[in-house]
Symmetry: D2
Subunit: 337 residues, 4 copies
């Protein structure tokens, strides 16, 4: 870390900072400019104490980090892109994974008809929420275990792999009994206890970026998963919260390229949450492919206008089939399939 | 809700929306303007189905809510300000509650010396984190149960009530055995399973606003607590995430006045997290008092420069005593004590 | 507009709002729900008085707009996409326009070598700042008229059209004497006097989205240009300000699809400002093409490390040539050239 | 500046950066850690070339600034708080300045009645917009020169000083003939040509913070004014743009304390724009006083519901008088008057 002292700090006050740096386990290397002194603190910033506490000293103006805070997640630690194998479906390789299905599991007919439709259009993984995190306690909270039962039924019939969200540490075990991929939603992106529990399940995990999570913090949340022994992690960009109100969120497509540059993990894009409008989903899928996404997570519903959650961002079967067709030239342009 | 149709929508398409509104359980009341039709959907928006799904129809331009989404939390449902009684310490009444203590519980000496100092300066509630949500898995994660033991010891000695954060549904029971107030942190502001579990404990709950939570969403998170039977809720403004980088967060002091206007719940301000800089804490406390805050949650450490977490935002004992003194005229101006 | 009254507003207070709406020139149409009344105010919201002022009445809870605020800019007013003809170079048609050149014009050699290089790689328009809006008064402010002279020289030699930023109403005339496209920068996105002056020049105008401008506000800024008689407007997405710090701005690629859906104007993307990092520019260009951009505005410098402004986001000649080559398959996938 | 190199950068690539730093006019001081080298570049960052351009080199990971970018504006350059003398009304001293009046000047009766009312309640400066920056070209654009004439009339009758916004370089001269303080609005916060022209007028200038301007950038905009010879600058916090939708902007009251700590200039707060809701203005005024504001800029209208601009945030005469009374104990608590 670099500790910047205020201009014209007297020597005794500089020495006090130098001593404190040494006490906290770093080797201090001061550099004296014309009016300001900076002190480099040499040591491992990741595992050593965070020297930002030194800003509590009046002569310290700022503390600047030098090293990256994530390690296992970083491209430096693992130069090849990780391919996550979800029971035979490979994510992160040449093929872009299509995950599709309803926002919420609502009924057997709704789920099975959707499963058949998305499979026919090319999806290999079925999404569907059994446990739904809803802003209001009065909104539909999901079918819970019944939803999981229906997902298992859809899997048995279609062979699609299953991704579904887990909201509680206590649900990890039974959700993992059905799901092939555990989804951690944006609201739980820094629910570290849930992350650790999911990591321990050994299942593949799709980690959504939090609504106002910096990319560094997202990679550090992934670091919790890897540090707890689970390398099967998919990062998922799903839009960040900004001042814009036309869309529900602002999909940060640059984050796809950044996450792939900084990390070795596959990156999935959720355009449905990312904009909250069915009419933009296809365009965002094309943009995501062009930016290098390794997969797409798309909400599909037989009759969006009557959906029990987020109908406005779900596409119907025909629109989904069209969308998938429209991606082909962009997959080819990206040398993906 | 108000459903706005696109300009020049043909009659058949208007009728289809009217029929759909009726089907979804609302009474449709169309109003025809010169170029655009809007349809009011009369009914209870809170418990009825969310008509935003109608945006899935191509002739629907937008859907506007009319009613407030929160109910038990609202000032309409409960016109008097709630006073939460924390084992004799009343919050929300005439007296502004001072909650103070270290960011993390680090050791017996650190905690007990701080407890004595903050009590001497006028605090009635001791804060201290035993379980710490940390951005990186390599940072100090708190002392856990040992931390709780030390908090209990500090309570026994000083008589201060205890507030401490709970991170996991599984910890609620044993944290509640020590704590007088369960703190739900900003990262868990929409971890609804944790909220429900805390609500069920019957303990008072301090609910921090999420980093990018709109005030409506914050009140809806509180609604989860009240709807699950726990009326002892303290709202806590702790800064929101913006583009500004001088401070760690942007403390939204207007939110204090808004939350007190919209809701009957007491509102606490956390200036330490709110700015992330010890040198601004006293000024923000004065601002919070002037805006009508019912309590302050302040981080205090015997030696902030060596704190194991967030030293830069913790004040030392002398600074805390000065801060408390400086509040007296503002409390008087607010007709509080 | 829709005026939402507070629950349980007495009849006299409802009638007062109805009377006020009529007085302000709208036809009031009240709808009475179980607990709340809403009043539709029928009339032209765009040219009539803004009824948001009614929120000043205590019985009014909120005022919701129904109509779109922009008109000439809107797709409804002009269903075909506008093609702006810049002295023979057509923007908005089948061909995606490549605009490239240095952030600032620094010297004859710098500019001319860049002009030759970008032309060789396929650009048809040369960018280069003669007047530079700089955050600090101590930073390089551009060469001014000498910069314009060099741009004219580059145009004469290469035949490239010229785009350059104008910062002052007083400069419009002489900048327009050299430039084929006047660029309005993000900091001046709501400098309406400058917009009007540029509109009057009759030149094509590239209007950058402001740093925190909602899409609606951006289209309304364009509306100033069209309403002052200039239809030759190019919208330019250049990144918005968010909490993310990895990039300088967050490029909002969804805005490309939205602006093309809502408006008939061509949409250009500036990936250089959009991320502030040379290493992301190529990926963002591919994303922009896939999202439907009609042009790209890319910063190119012979030696970015020594650039007098924003070197970190400028690509060198070789990188630019590679970038252009990499776009070909995505142009083909988009059925553009 | 500190140049951080990537881990394991080979010696030759380190030496290349060292040479480049020297070439650009700084003295390089490398510090070699276990895996990473950082190079301090010693020299005046403010007037020297911005080394961020070095990020264009592949071996450079980041560039960190050490020095503050503003100088004349800084508290270091001028330790006493500046008192701006507006023709006898002193701002920045012990007395908190009350500036009040309508959002827009609409008519003689509207302006004069307001001037009398705000004077009676204690204001010393009359605000009123003659030139209005409006998001839509179809909204009321102000009375222009007629508005200035009315302001002059109000001044002649009441003796109140006048503050009014200037939108165009071409208006500075004639606006300055009437106004005592030139107001630069949030939309023009980085319209540097307008800033320079206003600076040259010699008049006092109130500089509003831009909607998404970091505090550093705001102080740098003020630096433009001081660097062009005008020390009579008032900073004005008026709310920043965030994701919150309950209020029009998020008033950043911490910025008051920060601006007063970092700078010697007086700080004014505009609570009307800051929240966009009349019902919050009084509370925000109290908060602003408690945070140390040197003045308040408040919108007052005889009949807000019929105001031609922003009625929803204007208070009427009775509310203004109440508001002023309610401030007295907070002024006393702050040892201000």
């Amino acid at each position: 870390m670099i500790i910047v002292l205020r201009p014209h700090t007297p020597k005794a006050a500089i020495d006090a900072v130098i001593a404190e740096i040494a006490k906290l386990g770093y080797e201090p290397a001061p550099i004296h400019g014309a009016t300001q002194t900076v002190i480099a603190a040499i040591g491992d910033e990741r595992t050593g104490q965070n020297l930002e506490s030194l800003r509590a000293l009046p002569q310290v103006e700022s503390v600047l980090r030098v090293q990256k805070r994530y390690k296992l997640t970083s491209r430096e630690s693992h130069s090849a892109t990780t391919v996550v194998d979800v029971d035979g479906v490979k994510i992160g390789g040449n093929q872009v994974a299509l995950m599709a299905g309803p926002c919420s599991v609502e009924s057997e007919e709704q789920l099975l008809s959707t499963a058949r439709a998305v499979k026919a259009a090319g999806a290999t993984i079925l999404r569907g929420g059994a446990y739904k995190p809803r802003t209001s306690p009065y909104e539909f909270q999901g079918l819970g275990k019944e939803g999981l039962r229906l997902l298992a039924m859809a899997k048995a019939e279609t062979g699609l792999k299953i991704i579904t969200e887990v909201l509680s540490e206590r649900d990890v075990e039974h959700v993992a009994a059905t799901a092939d991929i555990l989804q951690i939603g944006a609201r739980n992106a820094q629910n570290f206890q849930l992350l650790i529990e999911c990591a321990r399940s050994g299942k593949a995990i799709l980690l959504k970026r939090g609504m106002s999570q910096r990319i560094e913090e997202w990679l550090l949340a992934a670091e919790y998963l890897l540090a707890h022994g689970n390398p099967n992690v998919l990062l998922c960009e799903r839009g960040i919260r900004t001042f814009e109100t036309y869309t529900r969120n602002t999909l940060d497509l640059a984050a796809v390229a950044i996450a792939k540059k900084e990390s070795h993990l596959p990156v999935i894009v959720d355009p449905s949450q990312g904009c909250g409008r069915a009419d933009l989903v296809a365009a965002l899928c094309r943009g995501a492919i062009a930016m290098g996404a390794d997969g797409l997570l798309i909400e599909v519903h037989p009759n969006p206008a009557e959906a029990l959650s987020d109908g406005q961002q779900q596409v119907d079967f025909a629109a989904f089939a069209d969308l998938v067709s429209s991606l082909a030239p962009f997959l080819a342009a990206s040398e993906r399939c």
